[in-house]
Amino acid sequence: MSIEVRNLRKAFGTFVALDDVNLDVPGGELVALLGPSGSGKTTLLRIIAGLEPADQGLIRFEGEDTTDRPVRERQVGFVFQHYALFRHMSVFENIAFGLRVRPRPVRPSDEEIRDTVMGLLRLVQLEALGQRRPSELSGGQRQRVALARALAVKPKVLLLDEPFGALDAKVRKELRRWLRRLHEEVHVTSVFVTHDQEEALEVSDRVVIMNEGRVEQSGTPEEVYERPATPFVYGFLGDVNLFHGRIDRGRVKVGASELDAPEWAEARDQAGVAYVRTYDVELTPSSSGRSSIETIVRHIRAFGPVIRLELDRVEDGGSVEAHLPRAQYDKLGLVKGQRVFVSPTSVRVFAGPADGSAARIA
């Protein structure tokens, strides 16, 4: 089932959590809402679920307006960040809850409930733990119970709030892959909230990047990563170097260097920021042209397949981070304190001084 969000607005007192948000989730997709804390992603999820009323705007499920429908009639499955399992009930009863509270005429028989729950326990690989209490489970197991409980009511939409937020790194990775496989199996339209870019890019069909109550960009993981639409997205996804300068006739002047910016051919001496991914640079012992920036090696982290270098610009002491494949690094034979020239191989230029929130200089 598809979800449409139209002109959604929500404020808590003077704090604007959602500011005119529009969003389309095609049926059957697994979508990640990605953003820093306070970006409004959880609020959006809760409004889609019907846990929170919107101040303005519409939510449509499969074209049908559900804005004023109470949560229990929306047929959404919601997985809470801290699971919100019923502590006094066994795992089995937790999963059965949504079926047991149905009005008598549409309530499945005890046998049907048992079959459904056992099926879900198999699906989440917890067959043997049906009679345990939530307190007797590990974090990852609780997460899967919460998921099974949400799926038991055959929701049209599955919503997950930071589903892996409370787990340790190893379990996170496992559950991530597992969620992806599960989605391929049950294929219900799913939206999950996360602040972890790697998680969003790895698991989802589509990533929606939010910032300060607004949608910055929406697209496939490749799209948003390779073609960030805004400086914020650039800064939020992956490590990036920022070079402040002046844009003029298709070039950006950064100190003594000049970088190509063909899309700014019309610009005449205006402030701009060049964004360069840490791996989109070439290092050479001597200057290789106008775009070379002179730096000194400050620190080398030489382990693993990718070598991370911290460089200081000679001109103004600004910091540049470069990630090099090991082979290339070995060839250069760099040492701390050495002079080296950095040439960006791919530059994206945005006008204006970079706004503070995007300035995640690597």
Partner: protein, 287 residues
């Protein structure tokens, strides 16, 4: 029983209720109304009545009832009793909390249960045990008689019974608090060269002062207001072994209602001050 532990009110503000989990306005309004009417009937009405009856015969009569010699001597005895029972239980409470929370030893859980014991005993029985011990027919009755020491139907009995009844208050408050705080800070102080007393006064005491004060407030309120236990050991000798609550009873039984409520209103004021202080300290403890 953990009276002191449940005594504390929750000061957290109510959370904002979202549409998904709130009741409708009508239901909410109905529930609030029922609760408030119930509380007004059970708590507020008696309170209002005390002051209404106290001033039933006018301000001069009220004043007379309070400054009457018997009332004043009862007030003096009440203050004296509290002045002995509260510090004694403070010392006991701190010592008990220290050994229970800072050390592991066999029989600890039994000790904690024993500390709570006086709360589980009826006030009447709390008074009775001292009669059995020190009364004319008691264990020590003959010996005390020979040495002309009076405990029952005298001030020492009243103090003992009151101390018994209020013994757990400070300890009950401190034990969970000190358990939660752990011993790391004290250990750090010892490692830095502080003596035991220095550690207690400079590290422990500042950490537990609000909890301690809380326990003392409750302890004091009960010490000044205790009726059942004191009633058994007092003998009701006017001007000698009457505390304020006993004086209220005597006046009431003599049909001196206005005077009785006048004295009662003083105790009620004390209760209200206790509640106010308690609320203030709770706020401090929460922050």
């Amino acid at each position: 029983m953990t009276t002191a532990a449940v005594f504390r009110s929750a000061t957290a503000a109510p959370r904002a209720v979202t549409r998904a989990t709130g009741e409708s306005r009508v239901v909410r309004w109905l529930l609030i109304s029922i609760a408030l009417v119930f509380l007004a009937l059970v708590l507020l009405l008696p309170l209002v009545l005390v002051f209404n009856q106290a001033f039933a015969k006018g301000l001069p009569a009220y004043w007379d009832a309070i400054v009457q010699p018997d009332a004043l001597s009862a007030a003096k005895l009440t203050l004296l009793t509290a002045a002995i029972a509260v510090p004694a239980n403070l010392l006991f409470g701190v010592a008990a909390a220290w050994c229970v929370t800072k050390f592991e030893f066999r029989g600890k859980s039994v000790l904690i249960t024993l500390i709570d014991l006086p709360f589980a005993v009826s006030p009447v029985i709390s008074g009775m045990i001292f009669v059995l011990l020190f009364g004319a027919q008691g264990w020590l009755g003959d010996w005390l008689f020979e040495h002309d020491i009076r405990i029952i139907f005298a001030v020492p009995g009243i103090v003992l019974a009151t101390t018994f009844v209020t013994a757990p208050f400070v300890a009950r408050e401190l034990i969970p608090l000190m358990q939660e705080q752990g011993s790391e800070e004290e250990e750090a102080a010892i490692v830095l060269g502080a003596s035991g007393w220095q550690t207690f006064f400079r590290v422990t005491l500042p950490n537990i002062k609000w909890g301690l004060l809380y326990g003392l407030i409750l302890c004091n309120a009960r010490a000044m207001g205790e009726f059942g236990a004191v009633s058994v050991v007092s003998g009701h000798i006017r001007g000698e072994t009457n505390t304020l609550p006993l004086h209220v009873e005597i006046l009431y039984n003599e049909y001196a209602f206005a005077a009785s409520f006048a004295v009662a209103s003083v105790l009620t004021l004390l209760a209200l001050v206790t509640l106010a202080l308690k609320t203030l300290v709770e706020k401090r403890m929460a922050s």
